[in-house]
Structure formats: C-alpha cells, structure tokens
C-alpha cells in the first residue's frame, strides 16, 4: 500500500514534529486514544487519485512496533472504507431523488402534451359539428325557400288557368277588351296605332273599337286616332295542354305606326305585372312575416 503526501494548505513542508499538526487536529494526540484518526482532514477523491495522508502520520507509525503498526493500518483502512461507503450512499441517494424528480417532470410534461392533444382534437370536433350544423341549417332554409317558391309558382299557374276562362264570358270580355284598348291608346298617345289580337278575338275587338277610340279621344282630348287592326298576323291562341310554345289568353297588343313603341296589354302580360308587383304582399299573406324572408 502506497500512501502519498498531498501539499495541503497547512502541510507544505515535511513536518516532523507533532506540534505542527494542522489546526483541525485536536490536541489529543496521545497514543492512548485514537480519535486523532478521525480528525484527519482526509480527502477521499475518485479512485483515480490516491488516498492522501499527512506526513506526520507516517512519522508516528515509524515510531511504533509492528503489532501496533498493523493495528493502525487496519483502523485506517476501516476508516477510509467507511467514509467511502458513506459518500457512495449519498451519491446513490442523490441519484435516486434526482431521477424521481426528473421522472415526475417528464410524466407531467407528457401528460400536458396529451391533454393539449386531446383539447385540440376536441376543438376540431366542435368546429366540425358547427360546420355540419350550419350546413344543415342552410340546406333546410333552402328547402323552405324552395317550397315557398313552388307554392307561389303553383298559385301563379292556377291564376293562369283561370285566365283562360276569362275570354269565355263574351260580354264581360268585350268590356274588358274595350278598357284594355283605351288604356293602351292612353299609354301610346299616338295618332296612328296598330292593333293586334288573337284570331278569335277579332270580332270582339271590331265590336268595341269605335267606342274605345271615342272614349280615348274624349279622355285624352285628342282627335280620334287611327287604329289599324292587323288581320294578317295574330296573337297565338290559348294554351293547349301538353303543347309548348307561345300562347295568349286574351287582350291586345298595341304599337305605334312605325312599330317602335309597343304596348303589350294582353292578359298574360297583365298577370305577369300584377304578379310581380304584388309578390311581397302575396308572400306575406301566404307565409306570414318571417325573420328570414
């Protein structure tokens, strides 16, 4: 066993007198007690370095007999081993505790990550739900609007059906035609006007034409206009079921002499206009006041 001396702070020169022992040693250096051992400022470094004892310890050993020397050395060995074991224990404890703290932190961090992950997923699901809801809402709104539209259209179609029968009541139809012609003339304000009607309506028109012209002239305070009834081109006939194509349920079409200004006073045109103008009222009557109308 080789022990080396370390140049410790209080121990720079070789010491041969026990009076120069470092301050940390107590004065109890009598051979009877051995607590001196345990007051030694021994440094236990890593196993690469060597255990270091002050020189005066060797000096003391040198003065002893063999039996005592071996006892001293044994004690020193025991002492160094105990110190080393205690230090090793401390290191083990520190390591274990640090491991626990580290582990806890890692677990917490991972838990947090997982929690965040799930929060994110939850949010996604929420958003998707909202999107689906509003899509559904829109779809059903559209359906409602569509149904409303269909209803209105059906109503218009029904009105158009009824319109056909108007021209069957000859007396009233005649009166109507007269009023229509007057209105048309009033609109046009032309001295010379072309008139076109359905083929079957021609005789009605000719019946009431004179009266209409006079009425207009009177109302508008102008000379009686010239109205030329077109006997060549006619408005199409009433609609036939299953037959597409232009149709006319009655009424007249008036135009200026040169044909530039046209006044459509057919029943269909009038229905169309009436329909368009009254649509809001129609809707209100049918559906009541609704928030998204």
């Amino acid at each position: 066993m080789l022990f080396l001396v370390k140049a410790q702070k209080g121990n720079r020169e070789p010491i041969f007198s026990s009076a120069h022992c470092p301050n940390s040693l107590s004065a109890t250096l009598s051979a009877a007690e051995d607590p001196f051992l345990l007051h030694l400022p021994i440094d236990l470094r890593t196993s690469r370095e060597r255990y270091i004892l002050p020189l005066w310890w060797y000096y003391r050993l040198a003065k002893m007999n063999d039996a005592d020397v071996s006892k001293q050395v044994q004690q020193m060995v025991h002492f160094i081993r105990q110190e080393a074991e205690e230090k090793a224990n401390e290191i083990a404890v520190s390591a274990e505790e640090e491991f626990n703290i580290e582990k806890l932190q890692l677990v917490e961090a991972e838990k947090k990550k997982i929690r965040q992950e799930y929060e994110r997923k939850e949010k996604l699901v929420e958003v998707r739900k909202k999107i689906d809801y509003s899509t559904q809402l829109n779809a059903s709104r559209l359906k409602v609007l569509q149904a409303q539209d269909d209803l209105v259209r059906n109503m218009k179609a029904a009105a158009e059906e009824r319109l056909i029968s108007v021209s069957h009541d000859h007396d009233n139809y005649r009166k109507l035609l007269r009023a229509l012609i007057v209105q048309g003339l009033s609109r046009l304000r032309e001295p010379s006007v072309q008139l076109r009607c359905r083929e079957r309506d021609v005789r009605f028109v000719e019946d009431v034409l004179e009266e209409a012209k006079e009425e207009y002239a009177r109302k508008a305070n102008v000379d009686i206009p010239g109205v030329y009834v077109d006997h060549e081109k006619f408005l199409p006939g009433p609609p036939e079921k299953g037959e597409p194509g232009p149709f006319c349920t009655g009424g007249v079409v008036l135009a200026s002499k040169d044909g530039r200004i046209v006044c459509e006073n057919t029943l269909d045109a009038r229905l169309e206009i009436a329909f368009k103008q009254n649509l809001p009222e129609i809707r209100k009557q049918l559906f009541g006041l609704s928030s998204h109308a």
Partner: protein
C-alpha cells in the same frame, strides 16, 4: 445494572449453546440441528463458504429459532450470530428475501424482540431489522419474481411489510424521545433512520409519528468522535427527509435552519458540512426557510465556507446552488409587493426588507403612490397595533422613509404621524421605545443634525 459489563456481539458469541437439548424438546428439527452444528463456532471463511452454498436454509433455521425459542441466552446468541453474519457481508441480507422464505414471516421475530427489556437484544434486533428492510428488493423486482402467482399472497406480503415498517418507526421515535439506553440508544436509532429513510414509506410514517421534533435537536455542532458520527447520521436523515414535503413543513417551526448553519460554520469534517449543505439546498427552495436563512446571515456563511477550500465537488455544487437560490429568494422577498403585503396585513416583522438600504433607495418613490397610501396604513398600524414587534418595525420603517426621501420630514408631519410616535416613546417595551425615539429624532431634526447625532 450499571456494574455489568456491556454486552457486545463478540462477548455473546463466546457462549456455548446446547443445541441438542432443543432438538429433544422438538423445538428444532434434525436438519436444523445439523446445519447449526456445521455453521456454529466455525472460522469466518468456513461460514462464508456454507452461506454461499446454501445461505437460505441457514437463514430459515436462524429465523425459526428466534421465532420459537424464548430463552434469553439463546436468543441473544442467535441475534449475535446473525449480526456477525451480516456485518461480515451486508449483502447476505438479501437471503432473507429469497423466494423460498416468502411464506415465512421474516420480520416478525425481530419486531417482537424490539420490545424486550435488555438493550443488547433491542440494539441488535434493530440493526438486523434495518439491514433486512433495506435489502428488500424493489416492488418491480418482487412482482417479477413472484410472477402472476397469487396476488393475494403478494398483498399479504406488502401488508406485513407495512406493518413492520410502522412498528419499527414507532420504536425508533420512542427511542428518540425516551432512550432505553443512556448513551447508545440514540446513536443506534439515528443510524437506523439514516438507512431506513431511503424507503419512502418510512419518511411518511416518521412524519406522521411526529418524529421530526425529536430528530432536529440532534443537529448541533459536535467535536467528539462519537458525536461527529451521530451528527453526520442525523444530518443525513434530515437531508433524506427534506425530499419529502410534509417533512419540510413539520420542520418549518423548528430551529433547523439556524442549527444547520451553526453546523456548517463550525464543522471540520467534510462529510458533515456536505450533508448539511445538501439539506440547506433542499430547504431553501421553500420561502419560509429562505427567510430564516437570510436572517441567520447565510450569505456571509457561504462566503466563509468558500474560503475554507473544500474540494468535494458535490459539496461545492451544493454551495453554488444554495447561493443562487438564496439570492433569487432574497430579491423576491425584498420586492416592493411583499413589503406592501406585509404592511397591509398589519403584522410587521423584522424581515430582511426592513434593514436593507438597497430596498429603501430603490422603492422610496413607490411610497408616494395613491396619496401615500402605504404610509397612511403604516401610521394606522402605529396607532392601532398592540404587538411590540409590529410597533418597533413600523417606527423603524418611518425613520427609514424620512432618511431616504428628500422631503420625508414634511410629509410625515403632514400626515400627523408625530403624535403617535411620541406616544410610543413611553411604551414599556424597550425596542419600541428605542425605535420610537430614533424616529422622533428624525422627525424633529433636520437632516444635517441627524447625521451628527448618529
């Protein structure tokens, strides 16, 4: 029985126990007797070889004897035998946890023996039990070995273990409070605790049994050899406890901080200083202790320790960490918000804030906030409080304010603080009177005269 020489393991092992008579009494079986004859009174190397070969059976015999025989001599002998066996090689304690013994109660006999009157029996049982407990394999290993076989027996084992732990902890706490032996009980108990505290359940049991109060007083500077070892082990135990929160809470109202600081200041042994610093490092993370430590003058102590040039790297790193945490805590403790909190609570104390000149210089303007709100509260405290410490601190705070604020005197007079302070000059408590006097001095005299008086 002071005249009897103390029993030691060596003395006891010199006895001759007639094992044969026990066999005839059917207390030991023939295999047991055979093993005993082979092992007993043989030289160390023979015993070592026997144990290496078939340690478990020997352990079974030993435990059986302790369980079944009550004659004191024999019990002592057996304990001494086991003690000897474990001292020679502590790893042998693992034999007690061998699967083959899992159906037996390895702890029971020792636990029972702790209650005996004779100190030797108590001490050796404690030593042995501690070694056995600390050799217990960890939970994972236990479940690995026992596999899926009967969770019931595993539960039973762990229940038994818990019972043993609480039995041991109770015994140790009692020893700390009422030692069975004048000089050896406490060292034995502390030594045992230092080893057992590595087991977390023990820490919890110990704190619940209110052992902390008995342990803390042992931390005091020591010069004699035995005391140094005791101090080391006590400090080690405390360090282990500082990892457990309820323990640190229990320690908060002891004087552990100042005791540890004393130990650090005066110890010459590196290992003692090392564990003391490690404990302080853990404690300082909690505010209460940071506060106490600053009051003990810890920063100065840290400087001194550095001058002593210890070389252990763990010691030095603990010192550095301690210094860092302390500095941060102090900065936080000295913050303005803390001060304001303290004033508003109406209970003032000599926290470091009140004397720290840096604090006053930096924060003096903040007193003006809200129409001198804090000052008004301070004056209200002066008028209403009955607690002498609060009054003294309040007076000193007002003095500090006057000193550090350019127009302090004027403000204080405006706020009508003079009369309460003057009244306090005649307060029975000497500290209060002194602080009040100093304060009045500052109010009445202009600055240049004040410095003259100081």
């Amino acid at each position: 029985m002071a005249s009897e020489p103390e029993l030691t393991t060596q003395i006891v092992l010199k006895r001759d126990i007639p094992w044969e008579t026990y066999m005839t009494a059917k207390v030991i079986n023939s295999t047991g007797l055979q093993l005993l004859r082979r092992y007993d009174r043989r030289p160390d190397n023979v015993q070592a070889a026997l144990l290496d070969e078939n340690g478990v059976s020997y352990v079974r015999v030993f435990v059986g004897i302790l369980r079944d025989i009550t004659k004191e001599d024999t019990v002592e002998y057996m304990l001494a035998l086991i003690d000897d066996m474990l001292s020679a090689n502590p790893k042998r304690a693992r034999l007690f946890h061998d699967k083959a013994l899992s159906s037996e109660d390895i702890y029971g006999p020792f636990l029972r023996l702790l209650a005996k009157k004779k100190w030797f029996i108590q001490e050796t049982s404690c030593k042995v039990l501690t070694l056995i407990i600390s050799a217990r394999p960890s939970e994972d290993q236990v479940s690995e070995e026992h596999g899926s076989s009967s969770n019931g027996s595993q539960k039973q084992l762990s229940d038994n273990f818990d019972k043993t732990l609480s039995g041991v902890v109770d015994w140790l706490c009692t020893q700390l409070k009422n030692p069975s032996h004048p000089s050896r009980a406490i060292p034995t108990a502390v030594s045992s605790l230092a080893t057992l505290f590595r087991e977390y359940k023990v820490r919890a049991l110990f704190v619940e049994a209110r052992g902390v109060r008995s342990l803390v007083p042992l931390i005091s500077p020591a010069s004699k050899q035995e005391h140094i070892q005791l101090l080391y082990e006590a400090t080690l135990s405390v360090w282990l406890l500082t990892f457990y929160d309820p323990a640190t809470q229990a320690m908060a109202d002891t004087r552990i901080s100042s005791q540890l600081v004393e130990v650090v200041k005066s110890s010459t042994k590196e290992k003692v200083v090392r564990v003391a610093l490690l404990s302080l490092k853990n404690l300082v993370k909690k505010d209460i202790f940071a506060h106490q430590l600053v009051a003990c003058g810890m920063p100065k102590v840290i400087q001194n320790v550095r001058l002593q040039a210890w070389h252990d790297e763990d010691l030095l790193s603990a010192l550095d960490e301690l210094e860092g945490t302390l500095r941060d805590s102090v900065k936080e403790l000295n913050s303005w918000d803390r001060y304001k909190q303290e004033v508003c609570s109406g209970n003032l104390d000599w926290t470091p804030v009140h004397k720290d000149q840096g604090f006053w210089r930096e924060n003096i303007k903040k007193f003006e906030d809200n129409d001198y709100e804090v000052l008004r509260i301070l004056i209200a405290v002066l008028e209403n409080s009955r607690d002498p410490k609060t009054l003294a601190v309040a007076c000193s705070d007002i003095s500090q304010f006057i000193q550090n604020h350019p127009t302090g005197r004027g403000i204080i007079s405006d706020l009508k603080a003079k009369s309460p302070v003057m009244r306090l000059m005649s307060n029975p408590d000497p500290d209060v009177a002194r602080e009040a006097l100093l304060c009045v001095q500052k109010i009445l005299l202009s600055p240049k005269y004040v410095s003259f008086m100081q």
